[in-house]
C-alpha cells in the first residue's frame, strides 16, 4: 500500500495496456535475437546510456536481477522510462537490424520485463551518511532521479512537492495505456527506499521561501517542470467546454468524478505529443468523433508520427491542418469552434469538448526568485549542461524547467548529472 492513496475508480484504471508485459518465453526469444553489438548504437542513442546489450544478455541467461541492476546503474527510473520512452525514435531506431530491414529488438518491452521481474528492495546500497542535505523542489522525474542518486552517495535529500502525489507528470500526465499513477507510486516507493524523503502538499514561498531553503540545505535542485496549460487567447475560451490538456489528463488519471459520457464530438488543439496523446485517449474513451486541429502541416508536428499514424487509422479521428482556432461560440448543444487562417474564418466545428494542448507556461518568474538563477528569453532556466548548475553555485536545475519540455529520460539524465555535480560540490566543501 502506497503512502499516497489514489481513488480506485479512476477512469484511467479501465485503460488496457498498449504493450503488456512480455511473457518469459517472449522475452527469452527476443533476448536471443539481440546480437549483443559492441559499442552498440542503441546505447549511444539512450540519453542515460543504459548498457542495453548487457541487460538483454542477462535476460537471456535468466539473470533478471543482474539485468535490473544494469538498468538501474544507469537510470534509477528504468521502469517508467521502459514504458514511456519513445523508443521508436530513441534506442530502437538505431537497432542494427533496422539496416537489414528486420524488426528492431523491442528494447523498451525487454527493459520493462527486467524491471518487473528483477527489482529487489535491497538492490542498491546507499553509501554511509555524509551528513549533508539537499533540497529538491518538485517531485517529478528529474528530482526523483537526482534525489535517488544523491541518497546512494550518502547525502540526505528532501523533496518538496506541492501536489498530493509525487511523480510530476509521471503521476498525472502519462497516457494511461502506457503508465498509470499506481505504477508511478511503486517507482516512487523504490526511490524513497534509497533514503529519499518526500514532503507532499508543500508550497514553496512564505515561511518556506528560497532563502529558507538555501539556509536549510547544503545545495538545491530545481525540478519544477512547467506551469499551467497555455491559453488560446481567443474570444469564448472561458466557456466550460474548453479545457487545458494537462489539466484534462490529470483529471482522467486521478479524478473519480471525471466523465466523457456526454462528449460526442471533441476538438483537440495542438501538434505536440500532449495533443496526440489526448486524441488517442479520447478515442479509447469511446468518443465518436475527434478533430485534431493544428496550425501548420503534419510534417511540422512535434508529436511523434509513430503515435499519430496508428491513431489516424481510426476513422473517428480527423486531422485538420493549417488552421487556428479563431473563436469559440456558444451553441444550442456544446460550442461551435471557429477555425481560420490569416485570410479569415474557414470553418465551424461543433464540439462538446475542446482540449487545448498548445504547451505549458514557464515558471521563470518563480525560478528567478532564487538568487543567482537566470532564465533565457524562452523562460528556461539557464544551466551549465555538464553540471546543471545555475548562476548560483549551490542551486542546480533540470528537466522540463530547463529544456522546455522533453522526455522523462531527459529529465532523469539531468537529475543524475546534477547529482554527480552536487556530490562533487559537497565533497569539495567537506574537504575545504
Amino acid at each position: 500500500m502506497s503512502r499516497y492513496p489514489v481513488p480506485q475508480d479512476r477512469s484511467e484504471a479501465a485503460f488496457a495496456e498498449r504493450y503488456p508485459l512480455l511473457s518469459s518465453a517472449e522475452a527469452r526469444a527476443e533476448a536471443a535475437r539481440c546480437l549483443y553489438c559492441f559499442d552498440a548504437p542503441c546505447v549511444q542513442r539512450c540519453p542515460t546510456e543504459i548498457d542495453i546489450p548487457s541487460f538483454i544478455r542477462s535476460i537471456g541467461t535468466d539473470n533478471l536481477r543482474g539485468a535490473a541492476r544494469t538498468i538501474l546503474d544507469a537510470n534509477l527510473l528504468g521502469d517508467s522510462c521502459a514504458r514511456v520512452c519513445p523508443v521508436e525514435v530513441l534506442c530502437q531506431s538505431t537497432c542494427v537490424y533496422v539496416h537489414q530491414g528486420r524488426p528492431a529488438i523491442p528494447i523498451g518491452r525487454l527493459q520493462r520485463y527486467a524491471m518487473a521481474h528483477g527489482m529487489a528492495p535491497d538492490m542498491l546500497q546507499p553509501a554511509s551518511p555524509s551528513g549533508r542535505s539537499v533540497g529538491l523542489v518538485g517531485a517529478g522525474p528529474a528530482s526523483l532521479a537526482c534525489a535517488g542518486a544523491l541518497a546512494l552517495r550518502g547525502h540526505a535529500p528532501v523533496i518538496y512537492e506541492r501536489d498530493t502525489w509525487p511523480g510530476g507528470l509521471n503521476a498525472t500526465g502519462i497516457a494511461p495505456y502506457k503508465f498509470q499513477i499506481t505504477d508511478n507510486l511503486r517507482e516512487v516507493a523504490f526511490i524513497e527506499s534509497l533514503g529519499v524523503e518526500i514532503r507532499t502538499g508543500v508550497e514553496i514561498g512564505g515561511d518556506l521561501g528560497p532563502d529558507r531553503l538555501l539556509a536549510q540545505h547544503d545545495a538545491l535542485f530545481l525540478g519544477i517542470g512547467l506551469g499551467p496549460d497555455r491559453r488560446l487567447g481567443v474570444p469564448g475560451e472561458d466557456r466550460p467546454q474548453v479545457v487545458g490538456a494537462t489539466h484534462w489528463i490529470r483529471r482522467l488519471k486521478t479524478d473519480p468524478g471525471f466523465r466523457v459520457d456526454g462528449v460526442r464530438r471533441a476538438v483537440v488543439v495542438g501538434g505536440g505529443n500532449t495533443a496526440v496523446d489526448t486524441a488517442r485517449e479520447l478515442l479509447v474513451l469511446g468518443v465518436p468523433s475527434v478533430q485534431l486541429v493544428y496550425r501548420r502541416g503534419r510534417p511540422d508536428m512535434s508529436g511523434y508520427d509513430h503515435e499519430l499514424g496508428p491513431a489516424l487509422a481510426d476513422h473517428r479521428l480527423q486531422l485538420i491542418e493549417h488552421v487556428n482556432v479563431v473563436e469559440v461560440l456558444d451553441a444550442r448543444r456544446g460550442v461551435e469552434v471557429l477555425l481560420g487562417d490569416h485570410s479569415g474564418t474557414l470553418a465551424s466545428v461543433p464540439a462538446d469538448l475542446v482540449v487545448v494542448a498548445i504547451g505549458q507556461a514557464r515558471l521563470d518568474r518563480w525560478a528567478r526568485a532564487f538568487p543567482g538563477v537566470t532564465c533565457d528569453d524562452r523562460g528556461r532556466i539557464e544551466v551549465d549542461p555538464h553540471t546543471m548548475a545555475t548562476g548560483n553555485p549551490r542551486v542546480f536545475a533540470g528537466g522540463d524547467a530547463v529544456n522546455g519540455g522533453k522526455e522523462v529520460v531527459h529529465a532523469v539524465r539531468d537529475g543524475q548529472r546534477a547529482a554527480r555535480a552536487i556530490d562533487a560540490l559537497l565533497q569539495e566543501v567537506a574537504g575545504a
Binding site: R28, A29, A32, R33, L35, Y36, C37, F38, D39, A40, P41, G60, V96, Y97, H99, Q100
Partner: protein, 427 residues
C-alpha cells in the same frame, strides 16, 4: 532424375536415409509409418536379454531459441519381449519388402548370439547391426561400448557372428575411444561387412543447480548418458572421414551423428558414408522430415550433375588431409562490404579480444553506420570475423596468396627448411 537407391554391403534401400536404432524404431507400428513417410531403411531398436529402464531418461542442451541442440539419454535397449519384436519385424518386412530393415543386437555369450541371429534371420530382416556402441548402462554389464573399446574382444565377437550370419552384418562403433580406427580395423579383421558410426558420446548434460542433481535426474541422482543431436555432428564427421580414408578399412560406412537436414546428409556422404542414419531430428520433429531430406538431396545431386548417391560418396575424402599437408602459401584476408554492414561491431570486438587485432572502428560513421575496417597486413585470415558477422555475405575472405607454388609443412621438413625463428635457441 538422380538415382537415390543404394546397395549397402548387399542391403538394398530405395534411398540412403535410414532410421538409427533408437526409440523411433522401437515397434512395428513406428517403422511401418516411417517407411510410409519415405524412409529408405531402419535399424530396429537393439534386441537383447530383457532389461528394465528407469523413468526420466532424456535431457537436452538448448541454445538460444533452438531446443535440443544436443540430446542425452540413459535409456537402455528394447524393453519389450523378444517374441513381440521378432513378430513385428517379420510383419514389417512382409509389408515393406523393398525397404531396408536391419536389426540391432546386443548379447553376451556365443550361444546367445547364435540363437538370436537364427531367430532374426527367420523374420526376413535384411541385415544385422552389432551394438558395440551404447555408452551407458549396458557397458557396466560388459556390453555395448565396453566391447567397442576393446578391439580384441570386438574382433572375437564379430567372428562369432560372422560364423553363423547369412545376411550382411554391420558393426556399430562407439566414439568414446582414442582412435576409432582401432575398433574399425578389429571389426574388419573379424570379417565384418560394414560399419556404422558414431554411437552416442558419453556425457553429463547439466546439473539442477537448486537440487544439486545432474540431469536427467532420476529422483535424487543421475548417471552419465549418451549425447547425440546436431551438437555431435562435427565429431561424427571426423570419425567417418578417418575411416573412409583408411586403407585398412575397406568396407562401407553408415554415417550417424546429428544429421537433421539433406545438407548434413550430403556432407556425411561426401566424407565417405554410403548411407546415413537419423534419430534425434526424428525424435524432435517426426518422420515427416524425410520428405525434405529426399527432396533436398535429389535437387543437390541434380544441380551438381550427379546421377547417383554413389557418385557423391567420398567425393571430399581426397581433400581431407593431415595438417602437415596443407598449403602454407594459401592466404586470405577479410573484406567487409560496407554496403551490407549493419554496424554491430561484432567483428571488431571478436578480432580485438579473440583474434589478431586487425579490425578497427572508425571514429565517424560512413553514411548510416560505422563500418569497421581491416588492417590487411595484420590479418592472418583466421575467419573469425566472418563467422561472427550476422549478415550473410558481408564479410568475405579474399585470397591473397603468399607464393605461387604450393608448399606444405611436410614439404619444408623434407627440404630441411623447417626451422622457424623465435625459438628457445635465440633466448
Amino acid at each position: 532424375m538422380p538415382d537415390l537407391a543404394v546397395d549397402f554391403a548387399g542391403i538394398r534401400s530405395p534411398n540412403p536415409f535410414w532410421l538409427a536404432s533408437a526409440p523411433p524404431t522401437n515397434s512395428g507400428d513406428q517403422v511401418m509409418r516411417a517407411f510410409d513417410a519415405g524412409w529408405g531403411g531402419a535399424v530396429w531398436k537393439t534386441l537383447g536379454n530383457p532389461i528394465v529402464n528407469v523413468s526420466s531418461r532424456l535431457a537436452s542442451v538448448d541454445y538460444g531459441t533452438w531446443r535440443m541442440m544436443g540430446l542425452n539419454n540413459i535409456e537402455l535397449i528394447t524393453d519389450r519381449p523378444l517374441a513381440d519384436n521378432l513378430r513385428e519385424i517379420a510383419a514389417v518386412k512382409r509389408r515393406h519388402p523393398s525397404h531396408a530393415l536391419v536389426v540391432s543386437l546386443m548379447f553376451e555369450t556365443r550361444q546367445e548370439w547364435r540363437d538370436i541371429i537364427r531367430r532374426v534371420e527367420d523374420t526376413g530382416a535384411d541385415g544385422l547391426e552389432l551394438n558395440f556402441g551404447c555408452p551407458h548402462g549396458m557397458c557396466e554389464r560388459g556390453m555395448g561400448s565396453a566391447v567397442g573399446q576393446e578391439p580384441a574382444v570386438l574382433e572375437e565377437l564379430v567372428r562369432w557372428v560372422m560364423e553363423v550370419a547369412s545376411v550382411p552384418v554391420i558393426a556399430k562403433l562407439t566414439p568414446n575411444v582414442t582412435d576409432v580406427r582401432d575398433p574399425a580395423r578389429a571389426a574388419v579383421r573379424g570379417g565384418i561387412d560394414a560399419l556404422s558410426l558414431i554411437n552416442t558420446v558419453q556425457s553429463v548434460i547439466g546439473v539442477d543447480l537448486d537440487r544439486m542433481v545432474p540431469l536427467p535426474s532420476v529422483g535424487d541422482a543421475s548417471s552419465h548418458g549418451g549425447y547425440c543431436g546436431p551438437a555431435v555432428k562435427p565429431i561424427a564427421l571426423r570419425m567417418v572421414a578417418d575411416l573412409a580414408r583408411d586403407g585398412a578399412v575397406p568396407v562401407p560406412i553408415s554415417g550417424i551423428g546429428g544429421i537433421a537436414t539433406w545438407r548434413d546428409a550430403a556432407e556425411f556422404l561426401a566424407l565417405g558414408a554410403h548411407t546415413v542414419q537419423v534419430c534425434t531430428a526424428v525424435m524432435h520433429h517426426g518422420f515427416r522430415i524425410v520428405v525434405d531430406l529426399i527432396d533436398g538431396l535429389d535437387r543437390y545431386l541434380c544441380d551438381k550433375g550427379l546421377h547417383s548417391v554413389e557418385q557423391l560418396v567420398g567425393a571430399a575424402v581426397p581433400a581431407y588431409r593431415d595438417w602437415g599437408e596443407l598449403d602454407l602459401n594459401f592466404h586470405t584476408v577479410a573484406a567487409i562490404d560496407s554496403a551490407r554492414c549493419i554496424g554491430c561491431n561484432l567483428c571488431h570486438v571478436a578480432c580485438h579480444d579473440g583474434a589478431h587485432q586487425c579490425i578497427h572502428l572508425p571514429s565517424e560513421p560512413q553514411g548510416a553506420v560505422r563500418v569497421p575496417y581491416v588492417d590487411e597486413p595484420e590479418c592472418v585470415g583466421c575467419n573469425l570475423c566472418a563467422l561472427v558477422c550476422p549478415v550473410e555475405g558481408c564479410i568475405t575472405m579474399v585470397e591473397r596468396r603468399r607464393g605461387a607454388a604450393r608448399e606444405s609443412w611436410n614439404d619444408r621438413v623434407a627440404a630441411g627448411r623447417d626451422r622457424v625463428p623465435g625459438g628457445l635457441g635465440e633466448l
